[in-house]
Amino acid sequence: MADLSNKIIRFGKKQVFLPKFTIALMRSSHLSPYHARFLAPLTFSKLDLRDYLYHAYNVKAINIRSHIKQQPVQQEPVDRRNPNQYSVYQRRHWRPQAKKYMTIEMDRPFVWPAEPENFEAWGKTLMEEQLERQEDKNGRKEESESLRKQVKRVRENAQEFKPSQKVVQGLNGPEFKIMV
């Protein structure tokens, strides 16, 4: 790695004194400790990131790769108390802003700190209980449990399931089959 760390890094000449963006370090356990992954603003370039990390955190980025991930289209949530307020077609659709992930290669390894062993300080059990109660209140507990079981069954024996055949009979016409 010695020759890599000596690689000349040149920076831009435009000075930015008060930048406003936020970047987040993301876990990249599938990569080596010499890699780090960031969630950066969409306007960020590789040169920006290299410059920023060197001057703000004293991290030398030897090589950078970036990736923009488009987000799935979302629908306006249905009002539970008034579910028929809008039909499916009236509901607004939108796509959240895409996310930019940037992975750097460093000359020195960084190992993430371990996860906390007990989550008492975060009230994890309390949160889980609350969520369960909420599910119960909405009457979705049975539904979700049943779904969970079905998914498990499908996953375990995928061979068992085949597309169903429904017989549709016309008023006077002959029988015909539709594959659904």
Binding site: P19, I23, A24, M26, F110, F119, W122, G123
Partner: protein, 232 residues
């Protein structure tokens, strides 16, 4: 075109005839007349070879002369066994990261993954514009970058908190972030104020005889110098 090298013919005839102890110049045709069924004729081409070297990869390698394999020779056996990939993550060599790595700046100062909601909640208030007015540019610039790093830490921890489903803590972190942002706005406010103050002072100084904005010589030359008139 290369001619037939004479030495080859001469050498051949010499060796073949040598055993019979007949001088070749005395009877040049002796080797042919001597002949029985076997006539040693070397078949060769007179045209030069197109190959720079022949395709024999083992040229020069001899067990008798103990040359050993040629450099970078691929053998059918290996000197060392092939390394086997370690698939079990538990058996992999544990890599120790740097203790003073710059990326620790994205975490709590105690080098832990997540700050508890109580710790995130333990903060005072944002800096006010009034407090910042007396600060120098260096101080403000420093404070801005402290705020930047704090916001990055909060953003990092938020993603991590949701990933491991730690529980509560989003509200506290969000409130802290809001306070940090308030400080940043106050810094900008102070600097904007300062800029306008400077700009207005510059406009006034343009028409002032006592002030020299050219940059050569003293910037301020008072026209009336009163000495000892003031008494306390």
């Amino acid at each position: 075109m290369a001619s037939i090298p004479v030495s080859r013919i001469a050498r051949r005839s010499w060796t073949s005839v040598q055993s019979d102890l007949v001088f070749p110049f005395l009877s040049p045709s002796v080797q042919y007349t001597r002949g029985t069924s076997h006539i040693p004729i070397s078949r060769f081409s007179t045209s030069p070879s197109l190959w720079k070297r022949d395709n024999n990869r083992n040229r020069g390698v001899s067990a008798i002369r103990r040359t050993g394999p040629r450099p970078r020779q691929t053998l059918s056996v290996l000197k060392h066994e092939l390394p086997k990939p370690v698939l079990d993550p538990k058996e992999k060599t544990k890599i120790e990261g740097d203790e003073d790595h710059g990326l620790w700046g994205f975490f709590h100062k105690d080098k832990k993954l997540l700050a508890a909601p109580g710790e995130d909640n333990a903060y005072g208030r944002a800096w006010t514009v009034n407090e910042l007015r007396v600060k120098s540019w260096d101080d403000l610039h420093c404070l801005w970058w402290v705020c930047m790093r704090e916001r990055n830490r909060l953003a990092t921890e938020k993603i991590e908190r949701n990933r491991i489903k730690a529980g509560f803590g989003d509200v506290e972190a969000e409130a802290r972030d809001k306070t940090v942002r308030k400080t940043m706005i106050a810094i900008q406010h102070t600097l904007t104020e300062r800029w306008y103050a400077w700009e207005e002072a510059r406009k006034v100084a343009k028409d002032d005889r006592e002030v020299d904005l050219s940059g050569d010589g003293p910037a301020y030359t008072p026209s009336v110098i009163s000495v000892g008139t003031l008494s306390y």
